[in-house]
Amino acid sequence: MFHIYCPYCEELREEEEFHPKGQAHIARPVDPEACSDEEWGDYLFFRDNPRGIHHELWVHAVGCRKFFNITRNTVSYEILETYRMGEQPRFTAGHPEGKPAEQVAAEAEAVSRQEGVKA
């Protein structure tokens, strides 16, 4: 059973308080009507499903009711980090040991400038 650090409650809580909500960072297309059926299907259903480092969306359902992201290894189940909505992960498949903090900040800045992409 997972022990999950809620970035809003700022403490470790039991998995029973949380619900997993699938892959993180899946932004709804800004203009759905401009999407092809294929693009819309991709958004709805197609997922990375990686073996290894995975970014996933969870909600602290029995707690603060906030959604946040977890970077977790899907084989060892080790949680590498949890971060708030709108933030970017430090640990990625490309950087399993974690990116330097400055790089994360710069990326977060870049993402926040993109309109409509909050996920």
Binding site: F2, H3, P32, W40, G41, F67, I79, A119
Partner: protein, 1016 residues
């Protein structure tokens, strides 16, 4: 009943039992005596009971082999009454209590004379591994018949046939350091962590803490080892940062250091928990431990040697022999032969000798054994046969002798002439396997260590192994390792560890062990007498060899083909030996053959302990509305809707007879259509939505438009997922310009609140809006029917004028003196007021309505009548008339879809996919049975050609179907392919009873199609 009052194998003194406290127990119908401090196994051995069970496949007589959780044979059925039955109790782990009643799980008519053994003896050779797969195939139809007989031989113990009188519970625990195992390393670690101020839990599976120190020959600070144990435990017990859990097995290690500890609270006291002061404590308790760091001081299990007939009663593990002598004062025989590959096992011979019984010989597989224990044996004049091992045990129901010969272990050959020695007990030791089970649960792979000839645990972050559990078998080194590992754990936690003084121990020199698993025999393995690897499943060395010959080369294949390790001991005794045999057959090393994966549980755990108090009425919460008591007192039958108990219907007594549901519902329906009915609608989900962007949010999440909904008005809304399928519906009310009250389906309440939050928090955080559940705050009472206005007018100050308080308006005011919000919305098609008051005042309002309602024929109704009434109006129930594959258009609810809303609301895009646009989708229609007396079955499938041969093409199914008292006929809602284009067509419903009903496709609105009645 026969009884035995002597304990022929009990020593006059020594051991940790209390000879002044005698206990009676019954085994296989015979009464015996034992003492406080005994296990069932030690008491059986004390009484000279050899055969404790029959084996699973071959029905061979079996005796006690071990003294702990690795025991494969001594599985008994416990319990003197039906309710107290416990199957498969391991006698080595069951403390003796007065009145204990047990019997062997196998053996008919009894374990001494078992007729199945004949089958085993004669048929054994026809039952190699996998024999099932190779036969019983023809004819195919007969397999079930064969299987019936095979099943008769299945199983060990039996399930009780009546419910459990005992209760179980859980305790959630948190600690900095969890120490599993209270042997030398565990005690040293726990003391270190405790003195350093950490929150410590120390658990141990045995009746007493101390582990190997309880039967140690060594002195600590020149005192017997158990005195040091007592000192440490006394100190730990005094510290309030320490929780000591004896009789507590760490049975499962789950993710992120969540460990379940199973504490047997009363199993040593009786077969059911003793009742004290009318209170029955929990029989066992599961501690759910979330630990910061975990220290595994789980010790090691001794490996027996695999030689011919090594399963005859009287074959024991060397360490078990020592344990029985030193801890329980029991010598399980008279004449011992020890077969060993290491020094440590010499303890068995020394203890045996010191207990005054004969040690016939020690067969030591090493050429020139040389260590302090060996020297001690020599001093006692014990014969040591060097370079030799026991090849074969003699005897059938008890060992009568052994054949010993010199061997070449590496070449797997017998090198000398076998010598036969008379004896009644064989102790064997092939070395020690660290107990890696818990570490293995975490998914970490163990690795083979050639130094210790065993697997050492793989460790994930935060887990530490100490002492024997990682192959440090020397006592002094094990104690020091406990301290060192505790220090490491504390350091990880950022705590400073305080050193403890370790006791002085005389160094003991031990010679190196040699690797010996299966002992060679003069005959090849397939022809030799059976050499058991996993006695519980009757897995032999020949079986393992045969598996490899048949191409099963992966250790997992071998295990599965032979069933090795699948017993209730999970291969604690036999797995490594089996791997060694496989390695020999495949010409590989043990690590090349593979590791073995252990799964929870470490030892079996009663379902009840895992369930805890979450059973019966606490299996799942029952949710009640504020009016529940009234419903109960007025005879309601209840329906489970999610976790809610909702009144289903209110049967009354008519002429001394309770109405059937059909009668009650007909009466309730008529009351609503003709007079006035009342429904407790409090279970509907209610979400308070506030904020300047609330309206925009609603427009995005609902299919229909919200920008023009005025304060004081309400609107029905439909919600889709982004795949375009309907997921919920309900009425949302505009309370103020930036303030709405959304209602959801009863079952959908929690999920929809989370759904709204999901969209708000992840996609539209820029919208300023908040969501708060107010489901429980408001009680909702729906009064509906032509007389509703008159009734409400009697007790409300609200202006109910039909022009000023229109359909789909809401007004605030007082009802029965209580502030209320009254919504004029309708789920029945009748004039309806939904009265919402704060739940604490609901009962008063409800009762007041009844005080005034009698004049108007006010009738309470339940969910069944609600369903009939709404279906007559063609109103859908999400989840009943929809199933996750239905769009708003399929429901014919285009009126509820805002196609031209500027924002592409959730679900919109999906409606234009090729499949959602195609013709022939299933669409919601009404069905009128041709025979009005017929009420179609809900779930009945609809066909166009009832005479079509199977498979019959189906075009849809009935989603809702009722008898309508208003129409005096059956009617139904259904989804039918292209249904909206099929109005007036006849379809057929072929039923299981052979009847086929015909029905006409009609509009889903059966009553008041113009919707006039709700506007009156």
């Amino acid at each position: 009943m026969s009884q035995s009052l002597k304990q022929p194998n009990r020593l006059r003194e020594g051991g940790r039992i209390d000879r002044s406290h005698t206990l009676h127990f019954t085994f296989n119908g015979k009464r015996y005596l034992g003492h406080a401090g005994d296990t069932l196994a030690s008491a059986l051995l004390a009484n000279g009971v050899d055969i404790v069970n029959r084996s699973f496949k071959y029905s061979r007589p079996r005796g006690i082999v071990a003294a702990g959780p690795e025991e494969p044979n001594a599985l008994v059925q416990l319990g003197s009454t039906e309710a107290a039955q416990v199957p498969n109790v391991r006698a080595t782990q069951q403390a003796l209590f007065d009145g204990l009643t047990a019997q062997s799980t196998n053996g008919w008519p009894n374990v001494q004379r078992d007729v199945m053994s004949l089958v085993g003896k004669l048929g054994g050779r026809f039952m190699p591994p996998g024999f099932y797969y190779k036969t019983f195939m023809a004819p195919a139809s007969l397999w079930m018949t064969y299987e019936k007989y095979i099943r008769k031989g299945a199983g060990l113990g039996r399930s009780p046939m009546v419910p459990d009188p005992d209760v179980y519970d859980h305790l959630n625990q948190h600690c900095d350091v969890l120490v599993v195992g209270a042997g030398p390393a565990g005690l040293a670690a726990a003391l270190t962590a405790a003195r350093s101020g950490a929150r410590v839990i120390l658990c141990d599976e045995q009746e007493e803490m101390g582990g190997s120190l309880l039967d140690s020959r060594e002195l600590l600070d020149n005192q017997p080892a158990d005195q040091w144990v007592a000192q440490v435990l006394e100190e730990l017990a005094r510290l309030d940062n320490v929780t000591l859990l004896a009789r507590t097995t760490a049975n499962g290690y789950h993710d992120h250091h969540f460990v379940t500890l199973h504490e047997r609270r009363t199993e040593h006291l009786g077969e059911t928990a003793p009742v004290v002061d009318d209170y029955r404590p929990s029989r066992s308790r599961m501690h759910h431990v979330r630990a910061g760091q975990v220290l595994l001081a789980t010790g090691a299990h001794e490996r027996p040697l695999v030689y011919a007939n090594n399963d005859v009663p009287g074959n024991l593990l060397a360490g078990a022999v020592s344990t029985y002598i030193r801890r329980y004062g029991v010598v399980p025989g008279n004449r011992l032969v020890l077969s060993t590959s290491n020094d440590h096992a010499y303890r068995a011979a020394l203890d045996w000798f010191d207990a005054g019984r004969e040690v016939v010989a020690i067969a030591d597989a090493r050429r020139a054994p040389d260590g302090d224990l060996v020297a001690q044996a020599r001093e006692r004049g014990i014969r040591i046969i060097e370079g030799a091992a026991v090849l074969e045990a003699k005897g059938s129901t008890r060992v009568s002798g052994v054949r010993v010969a010199t061997i070449d272990a590496a070449a797997f050959k017998v090198t000398g002439q076998a010598e036969t020695l008379a004896c009644d007990t064989i102790a064997s030791s092939g070395g020690y396997s660290p107990v890696i089970h818990l570490a293995s649960h975490t998914g970490a792979r163990p690795s083979w260590n050639d130094e210790i000839l065993g697997f050492v645990p793989g460790l994930v972050k935060g887990v530490h192994a100490a002492g024997s559990a990682r192959g440090i078998h020397d006592l002094a080194a094990g104690l020091a390792d406990g301290v060192a590992m505790a220090a490491r754990a504390l350091e990880t936690l950022g705590m400073t560890s305080r050193a403890i003084e370790l006791p002085q121990i005389d160094t003991r020199r031990e010679g190196a062990a040699c690797g010996l698993y299966q002992v060679p025999h003069e005959k090849p393995t397939l022809r030799a007498p059976k050499q058991f690897v996993d006695p519980q499943n009757d897995v032999t060395a020949a079986g393992v060899e045969l598996a490899t010959r048949e191409g099963f080369e992966s250790i997992e294949h071998i295990k599965r083909y032979t069933a090795m390790g699948f017993g209730t001991d999970q291969g604690k005794l036999g797995n490594i030996n089996g791997m060694a045999i496989a390695a020999r057959c495949l010409n590989k090393s043990i690590p090349e053959v593979g590791t073995t994966v252990f799964r929870p549980n470490y030892t079996p755990v009663t379902f009840g302990a895992i369930v805890g108090r979450h059973c019966r009425e606490r299996f799942d919460p029952e949710r009640y509305t504020a009016l529940h008591q009234w419903h109960v007192e007025n005879g309601a039958e209840f329906e489970d809707v999610g976790q809610w108990k909702r009144p289903w219907y209110f049967p009354t007594i008519v002429n001394g007879k309770k109405e059937t549901m059909h009668e009650a519902v007909a009466r309730e329906c008529r009351a609503v259509r003709e007079k006035v009915g009342i429904l407790d609608a409090s279970t509907l989900g209610k979400i308070d939505i506030q904020g300047p962007d609330a309206r925009e949010f609603l427009g995005r999440i609902y299919t229909n438009k919200w920008e023009k909904l005025a304060v004081g008005r309400a609107r029905y809304g439909l919600m889709c997922k982004d795949d375009g399928m309907v997921t919920d519906d309900g009425v949302t009310t505009c309370l103020a310009d930036n303030h709405f009250l959304m209602t959801t389906t009863t079952g959908g309440a929690a999920a929809i609140l989370e759904w709204l939050e999901l969209w708000h928090q992840t996609e539209w955080p820029e919208l300023n809006v908040t969501f708060t559940s107010v489901t429980d705050h408001w009680a909702t009472m729906t009064i509906t029917g032509p007389e509703a206005r008159k009734l409400l007018a009697e007790i409300s100050d609200i202006d109910l004028d039909r022009e000023r308080f229109k359909f789909m308006d809401w007004r605030a005011g007082k009802v029965a003196g209580v502030p209320a919000r009254v919504f004029r919305i309708s789920f029945t098609g009748e004039l309806t007021y939904e009265i919402n008051v704060q739940a604490n005042y609901a009962m008063h309002v409800w009762k007041t309505l009844f005080t005034h309602g009698e004049t108007y024929g006010l009738t309470p109704y339940g969910t069944e009548t609600m369903h009939v009434l709404r279906a007559e109006k063609g109103f859908i129930i999400v989840g009943q008339d929809t199933d996750g594959s239905v769009t708003p258009e399929d429901l014919g609810m285009q009126w509820c879809v805002g196609y031209d809303k500027p924002y592409s609301w959730v679900g919109k895009r999906a409606l234009s996919r090729s499949d959602t646009r195609r013709d022939g989708r299933k669409q919601l229609v009404g069905l009128r049975p041709k025979d009005p007396a017929v009420v179609l079955e809900e779930g009945a499938q609809i066909v166009l050609d009832p005479d079509h041969p199977v498979p019959v093409p189906m075009v849809g199914h009935v989603t809702s179907s009722y008898y309508s008292p208003t129409l005096d006929s059956g009617f139904a809602l259904a989804v039918v392919k292209g249904g909206h284009q099929r109005m007036g067509e006849t379809v057929y419903l072929p039923m299981a009873d052979g009847k086929t009903h015909a029905a006409e496709i009609v509009s889903p609105i059966f009553v008041d199609p113009k919707g006039e009645r709700q506007h009156v």
